[in-house]
Amino acid sequence: MKYVLAGVFAAILVACGSGKKADDQAFLNSLDSVTTSDTAMDDALIEGILQGIPSPIEISVLLKHSGRKYDQTMLNSPDNLPKYNNNFKMALNLGVYGTDLGYTNIYEQNQDGIKYLEPIEQLAEGLNIGQFFEIETIGRLAANSKNLDSLLLLTTKNFNDINMYLSSQSRANLSVLLLTGGWLEAMHITCQLSSKDPSNKVLQDTIGEQQIILEQIILLLKFYESDENMASLLKDLTNLQTAFEKIKITTVYKAPTQEVVNGVVMVKDNSTTTVEITAEDVNNIKDLTAEIRSKIIS
């Protein structure tokens, strides 16, 4: 009955909309792949978890601050775009390209960043979320490295708006894929850099700490595991999670202190975390990540 009601509601929405016929079809297609028990509680839970996953931009900033040099060869080639011809691949690779664009932006490599605008635009159009990407403005900002802050702000805002929109349209499955693709690409870049600099503890710890985010992503994918593609991705990521299980993260809580400085509450965090991760762990995670990424981008 729920599905009938959802179908009727979707039909009314489509009938009332002024969008193109292709938009309607894609909307219905995406509904076909929503196989979660569509209760309001599930939707709220999914949205809550999605909101909490950190932006891949944070990892790019970390890499730059840890002194890693820019390396374009690690990124997914914009030439791979024609390979992505269904919603599943389009959403995953929109996430991948989004992370790549963020990485080029952070390193102020505008000539490379601009190459990602067209594939991002086309994938977004294919998923009927093209209206959220201000491609012309992004292109204009990307042309000048002095606009970095505005560029990061706009791209982050665009991706946030997309996630909110997809959730509101009961298409959070696409949000989950977008986010998974973005996270995997950030993982891939970090693992590649770590393998070139095995003594870098910051990179190793960053990789180890990703087990917290992977856990959240797996939780999200489980809502959609009755879908064949989602189940396959979930299986791969669960396999990756096994490699993370060897890593031990110990947090020692100590009450923080705070004071008000210039109208801001400045907190001093007195807790600490230790990440126990070996070079072998990093290597396993790197290989598995590369394997999953290869399935996604090819």
Binding site: L152, I212, I213, Y253, V267, D269, T272
Partner: protein, 143 residues
């Protein structure tokens, strides 16, 4: 009888319109306004809408995975007086309270939190004598 029906319809319509005006909360407007108010050097991550839904909710909570070595800033925006009684508090995954924007009875509009332990954190918004119970907030980060 006809006059009575017209009067009743008028009363109902007035009540509907007035409750709509009182209940209006432009949380999205406030959250967008908060983004440029993040301190210099902080990169925007998320904006949060704080809407009590006409007082139906007494707290609103979001989670976010914070990363060790990163400093986060959470700010508050509301209509009227600075924070209009909006309070933001931060909790770790084990629900230890780490920070609050109400300090010695004073409402502060931003919290800066340098994270030492990667994990899930809870950003909780409450209303302390708030007139509108409506506002927005932005989360930013810097290394």
């Amino acid at each position: 009888m006809k006059k009575l029906i017209v009067l009743a319809a008028f009363v109902l319509l007035s009540a509907f319109i007035s409750s709509d005006v009182i209940g209006q909360c432009d949380a999205e407007g406030y959250s967008n306004a908060c983004i440029p108010k993040l301190a210099t050097g902080f990169n925007f991550l998320k904006s949060y809408k704080i809407d009590s839904e006409s007082g139906a909710k007494d707290k609103i909570e979001f989670s976010y995975v914070f990363t060790k070595g990163t400093q986060y800033m959470i700010n508050l925006c509301a209509g009227g007086q600075a924070t209009d009684g909006l309070v933001v508090s931060l909790f770790d995954a084990k629900r230890n309270k780490l920070a609050t924007s109400k300090v010695n009875g004073e409402f502060i509009s931003a919290i800066a939190y340098p994270c030492n332990a990667t994990g899930i954190y809870y950003i909780q918004y409450t209303f302390d004598g708030s007139a509108t119970k409506c506002g927005g907030s932005a989360l930013g980060f810097k290394r």
